[in-house]
């Protein structure tokens, strides 16, 4: 009986050690994956920086296109910006978030999702030569961008923040 108890205790220890061994790396990884806000901002800014520059290049001349009523040409610039934006959001979504900022960042990513949708819809309206709907969507795009910025104001983003000036 005692031998059996010892055996069972021993099995218990082994199980515990095995379980711990299995969990340890996961626990260590999860600790490593939860960055501080400063680390998170640095990482995101490094991802947003090249895309912000690419957006400026893609949108160059869009303002002039609109003024000259070349909506199809402007649409292609918006399409390129839209694709860059979608890529950026996908990339930064994958970055582990500081646990204390989870709620705030979830809200922010909600706004970014809306921004992505606005860009796609503006592109579609411009392609369809619908000036007024494109104008209305642009108003919402700018307003939504400002709301997004306010949500993460304390993060001090530069390249990852919405800037009207990037869009032509």
């Amino acid at each position: 009986m005692q031998a059996s108890k010892r055996k069972s205790r021993c099995r218990g220890w082994i199980a515990a050690i095995v379980t711990s061994a299995a969990l340890l790396p996961a626990g260590a990884a999860s600790a490593a994956e939860a960055p501080t806000r400063a680390e998170y901002v640095t990482q995101l800014e490094s991802l947003c920086k090249p895309d912000a520059a690419a957006t400026r290049v893609a949108m160059k001349g869009a303002r002039a296109d609109i003024r000259r009523e070349r909506l199809a040409a402007a649409a292609e610039k918006f399409a390129a910006a839209s694709s860059i934006f979608a890529g950026t959001v996908k990339e930064i979504s994958a970055v582990a978030r500081p646990s204390a900022d989870e709620a705030k960042l979830t809200k922010w990513f909600g706004y970014l999702g809306a921004q992505e949708s606005y860009l796609r819809r503006i592109t579609a309206q411009l392609r369809a030569d619908h000036a007024i709907p494109a104008q209305r969507l642009t108003a919402r795009f700018i307003h939504n961008g400002n709301l997004a910025n306010n949500t993460v104001l304390a993060f001090g983003f530069d390249y990852c923040s919405f800037k009207f000036s990037r869009y032509g």
């Binding site: 869009a62 303002r63 609109i66 003024r67 000259r68 009523e69 503006i122 000036a131 007024i132 494109a134 104008q135 209305r136 969507l137 642009t138 108003a139 919402r140 795009f141 700018i142 307003h143 961008g145 400002n146 910025n149 306010n150 104001l153 304390a154 993060f155 001090g156 923040s161 800037k163 009207f164 000036s165 869009y167 032509g168």
Partner: protein, 263 residues
């Protein structure tokens, strides 16, 4: 456009270059950016919003903004201010009297209006944190007046801030510079350390507007248009950018976009 200078040339100020868009976006509470603990805010707009598509019309411009700290800490010392304005408008000083900083030194608001009223182009308020040795910081509110002027041969907006309690008068010339890019006009002013408590300023609001007659014609200090195609009813443009240089070497700024409607 300047008296005897860049006459007739459209200078940058406001006006509406359009991307696309309606109005209302972003105009509610102004835009803010945060740099460390420091929050920079800027708001403003043109009045009227409805403007001709093809020619500048008289407008007034309201700007307000400032600095605050997220943790309620002391405001840093500001050493220079830069207000950038878009390049599709007109800032006209032709035939408008000028006033020199010297004329405004040590004058109350009433006296400044009396001395340089003909050159008045705007007014507002200024709020600053006063930091005195062995005393708790306190806020001070001043009346702000803006005059058309010339400094070292260059066009300028001369700011005159006057507080009653404690009695302080500060005169800061903002030189008008021309640049390329979205913002073609910049008002640039340096704040001397000898200004004492004023560089720790927290908030300003100012409306620039002046109608005057010159050679029998009605003129406006500021004019703007809403140059959008016929198929659009409204447009957006980069309206203003405020940059504050701080004593610790940092530069903090924020930019706002605003809209116009075509009439």
């Amino acid at each position: 456009m300047l008296p005897g200078g860049l006459r007739g040339r459209a200078l940058a100020a406001l006006a509406a270059l359009a991307l696309l868009g309606g109005l209302g976006a972003g105009a509610a509470n102004g835009e803010r950016t945060q740099h460390g603990e420091l929050i920079v805010a800027l708001d403003g707009g043109l009045s009227p919003l409805k403007l001709p598509r093809d020619r500048p019309a008289p407008v007034s411009m309201h700007l307000e903004g400032g600095l605050k700290t997220a943790d309620g800490g002391l405001l840093p010392q500001v050493t220079a201010i830069e207000l950038e304005l878009p390049g599709q408008g007109v800032l006209s000083t032709q035939g408008l009297p000028t006033c020199s900083p010297r004329q405004l030194r040590d004058t109350t608001s009433a006296k400044a209006r009396e001395t340089c009223g003909e050159a008045l182009v705007g007014s507002g308020t200024l709020e600053a944190d006063v930091l005195l040795l062995n005393q708790n910081p306190f806020k001070i509110q001043a009346d702000l007046l803006a005059f058309n002027g010339r400094v070292r041969g260059r066009r300028a907006v001369i700011l005159h801030a006057s507080a009653a309690k404690p009695p302080i008068v500060v005169v800061v010339p903002l030189l008008i510079e021309h640049r390329s890019g979205s913002f073609e006009t910049a008002l640039v002013g340096e704040l001397s350390p000898t200004l004492g408590p004023w560089p720790h300023f927290a908030h300003f609001e100012m409306t620039l507007s002046r109608r005057y007659a010159y050679r029998g014609r009605e003129r406006s200090y500021l004019s703007a248009s809403c140059p959008i195609p016929r198929r659009f009813t409204a447009g957006f443009f980069s309206f203003a950018k405020a940059t504050f240089s701080l004593a610790d070497g940092r530069e903090v700024s924020t930019t706002i976009a605003r809209g116009c409607r075509a009439r």
